[in-house]
């Protein structure tokens, strides 16, 4: 089956969320969304809401786990953190991406 465009995007978002959690530790949804926007320097314009289905997807696969906690401003929020299989997943997906990126780079290089 050919991969549809949204699948690729889903995959990217998943990896971005995982990577964010890896570098920042447990975070709530809003924090993750803001962090992605900042890191990508707003070149990814995502509806912040789409982070939640993505988080649920990761949670269903047990790559992240969620728990209610309190934010730095004293607000009740759901905090997400990486699980062990989530960490393993980062390594795997990073390799995948690097391979794809390297391949694409080779294709694009001669025409530059």
């Amino acid at each position: 089956m050919p991969e549809s465009k949204s699948d690729v995007l889903q995959g990217t978002l998943d990896l971005m969320v995982l990577k964010t959690l890896e570098s920042m530790g447990p975070m709530h949804g809003y924090g993750i969304a803001r962090r992605i926007e900042q890191v990508s320097e707003n070149s990814v314009s995502l509806n912040q809401g789409t982070i939640y289905p993505a988080l649920l997807r990761l949670e269903q696969r047990a790559w992240v786990k969620a728990a209610w906690g309190t934010s730095e401003t004293g607000r009740r929020a759901r905090f997400y953190s990486l699980t062990r299989s989530g960490r393993k997943q980062i390594t795997q997906q990073t390799e995948n991406w690097e391979r794809v990126a390297a391949t694409m780079a080779r294709f694009l290089a001669p025409f530059n």
Partner: protein
């Protein structure tokens, strides 16, 4: 394996929906408030912060929706929603729902009944370990299912295919255990019977081949579990007691396992005795006679031997034995599955398959019916459907919703139908003709329920396809604008026509075939019987059961006759061994010059009666020529017989046969002293059969054929009174065996039970078909009329005459009715001929009957179309145009 985890988490989410929804809402609220905090910190006003936060999230409702799709099992929830919606829809139109459900309940109920019977009789294996490698050994075709005991021993010794062959026959005896006297039916079986079947006793032990050491060497009896329970309250002390069978003592050694009911499909024996002791009990020496073919044979295939190999092996043995023994001339053998399923000529099997076809046709008619009802309903709801399509529902979703509705209806119909079927089956299971312990194990099992469900869902899908197809073709804009009129109606019209055609044809077929069959059976019930049953009461007792030795049978018979004749109110009395419709016996008949009594030389088989003087007068059988038997026809004087006309014609080609002679077996030579009219002897529908009436006093060779004696008395008194008087006086003559006393008409009624049942079933099927036809045609016609209302309105507004409109409305349905009725009539005739063949009744293609069927179907169709057409005409054209 991560998909399993995902699935589990999705499943669990379905059940925690409310909690999870609340969690998500709180999480989203927290998200927005965190964002607002940040925006406020950057100097926005409250209002600006909220707007910015909401914009960044990008639509809370959409997030919620896509979150839910990710979280639960969306398709399941959609189906649940569809079902809820369908329920609401159906509750809104209870008339429609009820019609559909009942129509389907009838169709599925009929099928469940027929399939249960089929399942119980044809598909059920014998209840023994490994029934698959158990085969019956029988003659080829429908000849010679029974084998003789000496032949059986030869098969047993010579074959290389079977690990064991068992033999058994049905016997009927009086049984006396612990002073409780009863008549009961059981099996006389070879010693290895239980070992070949691989059974273990519930109590005590079985008899084995090692118990047999020649005639009368194994005086044992094994009781069936049911018999032990019902007659002896499951008492364990019964083992070791002595049971007197026809006054012969046998020791009770064991009880068979609970669910073992013997190796016949309809007959449940009460007990088993070793075949070596059967002669002692019944007085018949078929243990040594190669030409007495009384035994049913079942063989257990050796591991690795196929049924085909076994057939070849046993076939070769049969050819070998046919050369060796004169009695076995023409012997053929093969193997087949035990019971009716293995015998393709078995009438029960044929009748059942015929019934199955009929039941499926009823279901087909019901489906065609429902398809039209549903199509009409979908058309009525076209604006609703169009609106749903217009506001963005996918066609698939709408079609799925219609399908859900149809399947819901069909499942409810199926459940109702199965429920009624269970009631009918409950009655059938307890059906027990006469005192013969026949049982039909047709309680519906898992297989039946699966079939019911498959039929329900299948028919639901079939009749929902048409409306679904309609949805697919709906042009939304057209549909909303013009309330769905006739856009491209020609093709849909053709589809409707085809449905109507099928329906009319199938229903006519059903009505025709059932009417023809019912008529044939009624004729059969009215056939002349050759006896006059009015005022005749029969009292039958078995002297063998009573323990009367053969030489005294004549004396006892005489005393019975005299006692019965002396009862006040009895005008005439006579005896016979059996009487027509109450038991039957037969002998193979040979022409006078026969010397070798082998099957190849036989003339035919005759039904035989051993009667007392005066029998024909009491029975009301007309003497065509010659004389009746007199007291002078006694032992020592020349043996004489009366024959019926069929016998005379078949043996001698003429009815002037007085003084001619024939033989039964070697010492039995008979001289014909009279000819009587033909009659029916076992079944009112039978073909003319040769029959012989001999003098009871002269016996048959060495036999008295003394088992049963039937006393026939003619009297004007009420049957109850005469029955009581007979029982009182006769049971003083024979004290050791019970009498069964009934009027002759009751005996005939009993023998006609299967015919009556078949007639009833066919009649009910025909009635169902007629009802389906009327409702179906009516629904279809009103549907197509209402679809053309607007067109007709325009035509009337433009000045068309009522007659013209009427003609254009009716012409098409009438044409279809005629074609359908003709097709159905032809099909029905073929089906009736097939039925006649299957259930063996005289086939009548009575033109009057057929014309009636065609006429009735046409009338029903015309009324069905005329009423809606009138509705169309009665309406004011102006209003019609405005409304549509």
């Amino acid at each position: 394996m991560s998909w399993i985890r995902v699935l589990l988490s999705r499943c669990s989410a379905v059940f925690r929906k409310r909690q999870l929804d609340a969690d998500l809402d709180e999480e989203l609220r927290a998200h927005i408030e965190l964002a607002m905090e940040e925006h406020r910190a950057n100097g926005m006003t409250e209002q600006q912060a909220r707007i910015a936060a909401l914009r960044a999230v990008g639509g809370v409702t959409q997030v919620r929706e896509s979150y839910r799709v990710q979280r639960g099992l969306p398709w399941l929830e959609e189906i649940a929603r569809d079902i809820r919606f369908a329920f609401r829809k159906l509750l809104h139109s209870p008339g429609f729902a009820l019609t559909a459900i009942l129509t389907l309940a009838v169709g599925i109920g009929a099928n469940v009944v027929v399939f249960s019977v089929l399942n119980g009789i044809l598909l059920r294996p014998l209840n023994v370990p490994q029934p698959d490698n158990l085969v019956q050994i029988a003659g080829e075709g429908n000849r010679g299912a029974s084998q003789s005991y000496p032949d059986y021993r030869d098969y047993q010794d010579r074959n290389r295919s079977f690990s064991g062959i068992l033999a058994y026959k049905i016997i009927h005896v009086s049984m006396d255990i612990d002073k409780s006297l009863s008549q009961s039916w059981g099996n006389a079986a070879s010693g290895n019977y239980f070992d070949v079947l691989g059974l273990q006793p519930a109590l005590g032990r079985f008899f084995h081949a090692s118990d047999e050491h020649g005639l009368a060497s194994a005086p044992y009896i094994v009781l069936s579990y049911d018999f032990w329970q019902s007659h002896f309250a499951a008492s364990p002390h019964l083992i070791g007691k002595v049971a007197f069978l026809n006054q012969q003592p046998l020791t009770v050694i064991g009880v068979a396992p609970k669910n073992f009911h013997g190796t016949d499909f309809f007959f449940w024996p009460d007990y088993w005795i070793p075949a070596v002791n059967a002669q002692q009990v019944t007085g018949w020496d078929d243990f040594d006679w190669r030409s007495h073919r009384e035994f049913t044979l079942l063989g257990r295939l050796k591991p690795g031997v196929t049924q085909q190999q076994a057939s070849q092996d046993i076939g070769a043995i049969a050819r070998q034995m046919a050369r060796e023994y004169p009695e076995d001339q023409g012997l053929t053998l093969t193997t087949r599955k035990p019971g009716p399923s293995g015998n393709s000529d078995d009438p029960i099997r044929k009748a059942l398959l015929g019934m199955t076809v009929l039941a499926l046709l009823v279901l087909l008619a019901a489906c065609a019916n429902l398809a039209s009802i549903f199509a009409a309903r979908a058309a009525d709801r076209s604006s609703e459907l169009a609106i749903r399509l217009a506001i963005g529902s996918s066609r698939l979703a709408v079609a799925r919703q219609l399908l859900t509705e149809a399947i819901l209806v069909s499942l409810v119909g199926g459940i109702v139908g199965t429920f009624f079927a269970r009631l009918v089956l409950g009655v059938l299971s307890h059906w027990r003709p006469g005192d013969f312990p026949s049982k039909f194990l047709i309680a519906p099992d898992v297989r039946v329920y699966i079939v019911a469900i498959v039929l329900s869902i299948g028919s639901g899908i079939v009749f929902a396809l048409l409306p679904a197809r309609q949805v697919w073709k709906t042009d939304v804009v057209q549909a909303i604008k013009s309330n769905y009129v006739a856009a491209g109606s020609f093709r849909r019209f053709a589809m409707r026509d085809a449905l109507l055609l099928v329906q009319v044809a199938v229903c006519t077929l059903l009505v025709t075939s059932s009417l023809v069959a019912v008529r044939g059976m009624i004729q059969r019930l009215r056939a002349p019987l050759g006896i006059s049953t009015k005022g005749v009461t029969l009292a039958q007792v078995d002297l063998k059961m009573a323990g009367v030795p053969d030489p005294q049978a004549r004396i006892v018979q005489k005393r019975l006759l005299d006692t019965a004749g002396a009862i006040p109110g009895v005008t005439a009395a006579a005896t016979s061994d059996y009487a027509p419709f109450l038991g039957v016996w037969g002998w193979t008949t040979y022409s006078w010059d026969t010397t070798q009594f082998v099957p190849a030389n036989a003339a035919f088989d005759s039904i035989t009666y051993s009667v007392s003087p005066g029998y024909f007068q009491v029975a009301g059988t007309h003497l065509e020529s010659g004389r009746d038997i007199t007291p002078e026809d006694k032992p020592g004087s020349p043996t004489v017989a009366l024959v019926n006309e069929t016998f005379a014609r078949r043996m001698f080609g003429t009815t002037h046969v007085l003084g001619k002679r024939f033989k039964l077996f070697d010492p039995v030579r008979l001289e014909i002293i009279g000819v009587v009219e033909d009659g029916k002897y076992m079944d009112p529908g039978e073909n003319p059969q040769p029959a012989i009436f001999m003098a009871y006093a002269q016996g048959i060779g060495q036999y008295m054929v003394s088992g049963p004696v039937t006393v026939l008395v003619r009297s004007q008194l009420p049957p109850d009174q005469i029955a009581g008087a007979l029982r009182r006086s006769l049971s003083q003559v024979v004290t050791t065996a019970p009498f069964s006393i009934l009027t002759w008409s009751d005996a005939i009624d009993r023998s006609m039970m299967p015919v009556r049942t078949a007639t009833l079933v066919l009649g009910v099927m025909g009635l169902i078909a007629a009802i389906l036809a009327v409702t179906g045609i009516f629904g279809m016609a009103s549907y197509s009329v209402s679809k053309r209302m607007k067109e007709q309105g325009i035509r009337m507004a433009l000045g068309a005459q009522r007659m013209q409109v009427m003609r254009s409305t009716l012409s098409r349905p009438v044409l279809i009715l005629i074609i359908g009725a003709c097709a159905g009539l032809i099909g029905g005739l073929l089906a009736a001929r097939l039925l006649a063949h299957l259930i063996s009744f005289p086939s009548t293609s009575d033109p009057l009957l057929l014309a009636c069927v065609a006429l009735v179907m046409m009338m029903l169709g015309l009324i069905g179309t005329w009423i809606p057409a009138r509705r169309a005409l009665a309406i004011d054209p102006a209003r019609l145009l405005r409304e549509c």
